[in-house]
Symmetry: C2
Subunit: 437 residues, 2 copies
């Protein structure tokens, strides 16, 4: 079945798609396994920080009133009556001109209201007793970190949807999250289509290639934060294919097919969508590669039809599937981040439609530099592994030269961008040569 397809803009496709976004649930994950996931709830301080008045330095806890009048000419002598390490508490009385040796982080004794830093105390043993002399006065509260001065109990320290990096893990531990409320990962099924496909462990044979898209998408899903489920390859028979899709939909939150969306003779997907009663949101986008990227919705569930061409499949996933996955994870920045970069080599092709070129990000004296990868046949295969950006060249342009400014989409960045900023944040015309590089 060959059908008429009406191309729409990338931004419109994204907007249509996002109307079908859905949010996943929450599960509790041991703190040791929380790195790389997303917070399913706000991270809240369960106590003041500091939890008690504490000493920021090694020194001596004293009563400030006892230092009145201290000077170089009139040093005041304190008797050291005890010591407290971090973690212990000093509850005895501290009287006039008495002091307690205190370690960094330890709680200020009840009867003290200031700390003298170790360096300012001239220590001496007098009759075998530890003493020190002080040559300046201190004020009440000096060198004390007060309870709650860093953070008050109940403060939201990181909102729901935050990517959990090592710093967030430190916060989770500090505030007692032995079990972390994380966003449940969406289950995303992958079905590979294409009669030319062999499985990875099959020997090559004439006319065939190994199925690489399914595994590439599998890794893209992992990078995006989803649980990938490889459901195998389509059969050649329509009814079996239909049943495969129908069965799969009951097992997953989203379904991806790779291949079979080109305008070819052997493409069952349009018919399958029709028989399922799925609404095709779009099946042609004014972009290269990936123009045949198709998305359909059935009972609120999304079916992504990604191209069988590896570059098109890769780009279609990052532009359209990733924001849906990150939204499911409650990420407040579901899209990839866009920035401006200098083009690191010429790209002379015409761009009749928006083009997304896989590229490698480097830097030149603090400026982002984008180098297209895989344009030469001689390195098209090995360069696949170098891609960490997409270079976005707007439709209706041509003749990009080294040194021009281009929009780049950062594939490895975890911070991301909102849908709105992703849509707006483009260089929409060819920017003239501006930068030496």
């Amino acid at each position: 079945m060959v059908e008429r397809r009406k191309p729409i803009k990338v931004t419109e496709a994204l907007q249509r798609l996002m109307e079908y976004k859905k949010y996943g649930g929450i599960q509790h994950t041991p703190i040791e396994d929380s790195y790389g996931r997303f917070l399913g709830q706000d991270l809240v301080a369960d106590h003041d920080v500091p939890f008690f008045d504490r000493s920021p330095y090694d020194g001596f806890a004293i009563r400030a009133i006892d230092t009145n009048g201290a000077s170089r000419e009139n040093p005041i002598t304190f008797e050291v009556i005890g010591e407290i390490g971090a973690g212990s508490v000093f509850t005895d009385n501290v009287g006039t001109r008495q002091a307690v040796r205190i370690m960094t982080g330890a709680q200020i004794p009840e009867y003290c209201d200031a700390v003298v830093m170790l360096e300012l105390a001239n220590e001496e043993l007098v009759d075998g007793k530890p003493m020190f002399h002080l040559t300046r006065s201190v004020i009440p509260g000096e060198n004390i970190s007060f309870q709650g001065e860093d953070t008050k109990q109940g403060t939201i320290l990181a909102p729901k949807g935050t990517y959990i990096n090592p710093g967030i893990v430190a916060l989770l531990a500090t505030f007692g999250y032995k079990q972390v409320p994380t966003s449940s990962k969406p289950k995303v099924g992958i079905i590979a289509t294409g009669s030319e496909l062999l499985e990875v462990d099959e020997a090559l044979e004439p006319g065939k290639i190994r199925n690489s898209n399914a595994y590439m998408v599998y890794a893209q899903l992992q990078r995006a934060g989803a649980e990938a489920i490889y459901l195998g390859q389509f059969s050649d028979d329509f009814d079996t294919c239909y049943k495969q899709v129908l069965d799969s939909l009951s097992k997953v939150d989203f379904l991806i097919t790779t291949g079979g969306v080109s305008v070819g003779d052997y493409d069952y997907l349009p018919e399958i969508y029709q028989k399922l009663g799925a609404k095709v949101l779009f099946n042609k986008i004014a972009m290269r590669p990936g123009s045949v990227t198709t998305v359909a919705a059935l009972n609120g569930q999304l079916l992504f039809g990604l191209s069988g061409n590896p570059s098109a499949c890769y780009v279609g996933f990052e532009l359209f599937t990733r924001p849906i996955i990150r939204t499911f994870l409650h990420a407040y920045h579901p899209c990839l981040k866009k920035e401006v970069a200098i083009l690191g080599s010429d790209f002379s092709k015409a761009n009749p439609f928006d083009r997304f070129v896989r590229g490698h990000l480097s830097y030149d004296n603090g400026r982002l530099v984008a180098i297209p990868v895989g344009l030469d046949k001689s390195n098209v295969v090995s360069s696949l592994g170098l891609a960490d950006i997409l270079i976005q060249l707007p439709g209706g342009t041509r003749g990009y030269e080294r040194g021009m400014e281009v929009t780049v989409i950062l594939l490895e960045d975890q911070e991301g961008a909102t849908i709105d900023s992703f849509i707006k944040n483009n260089i929409n015309a060819r920017k003239e040569l501006r930068h030496e590089y």
Copy 2:
């Protein structure tokens, strides 16, 4: 035991440490689990790409010789005698002015030597038979992707030590790596020390704080690519501590202790190193934070003594532990990448020693911008999660202002840097205000 400590430069510490680097083994990992690991062997093409002469377009496979003399005035008519989809092979004879309909990616029939693109063939049914007319000649080899033109069998497509991203996974699948030779992860033990520490699930009590460093380091280890093993907290008794360290060393490739390396009264580590017979490589570095970062070696095994202060612990890990882990993983860029950035806010403190400030990376029109995090008490806690760079300010400087150039260390970057480039790639003086920001 309070001991004399002689500070050395960061670069010297790194060099001393790297003399004790070791490389881990290889294990086979299912391709589905390979994302985010490191290649333990070179990734080699097990076949030519393409594996056979194939068509890059939808069109008709023909014998070029039959097109001689074709022109607008003298169109030549071909009879379509069959069709081949991707994955199937056409083995019948193709005679004079005969053609085979061919799909993108399909193998060129044995008797054909060129492809006419679909758009250039004027198709027509003549007496119910499919025919097309051609108005230009083609040359032998036209529109054929020849066997091996992208990649020859035996080519190394990614060297041992490459970080496995989705593009690398696509290559692994293409070349039949159902089981991927990945670098074995080093087992790294973590012991937390400090009498003030509570476990994450313990209720707070006066004078105590929860152990957050161990879990932070746990996540840093995961980010670096290691297998983290939390071995618990030290006891207060020297002999028990000594036994804990001795036992732990037999279970791990590297051992990290957090806390207990400050010049305090309750610090067992120097004595433990001594009793073990471990050689202390350094125990004082001219840097802030993390000046007390200690590394000792015993029978070629490294013991990292990281500070109990969270910032110092974090920085000590990224500067010293990470390169050792990445080297174990055979990564050819074991250190973090350094770049130049514009300082996004003033940093007025003096830097008597090299200072590493946790910061957040942003961008301004294609330029890297580094904003220190956690300098204000009001946000010191929540800002922990924002850190994705370290801002390196050289010792002997002061009064950094917004807009100045600084060296930044990229914490989330997977590409990394060599030891040499990490050591050399610094701005060594305060760069005057140069950038509007």
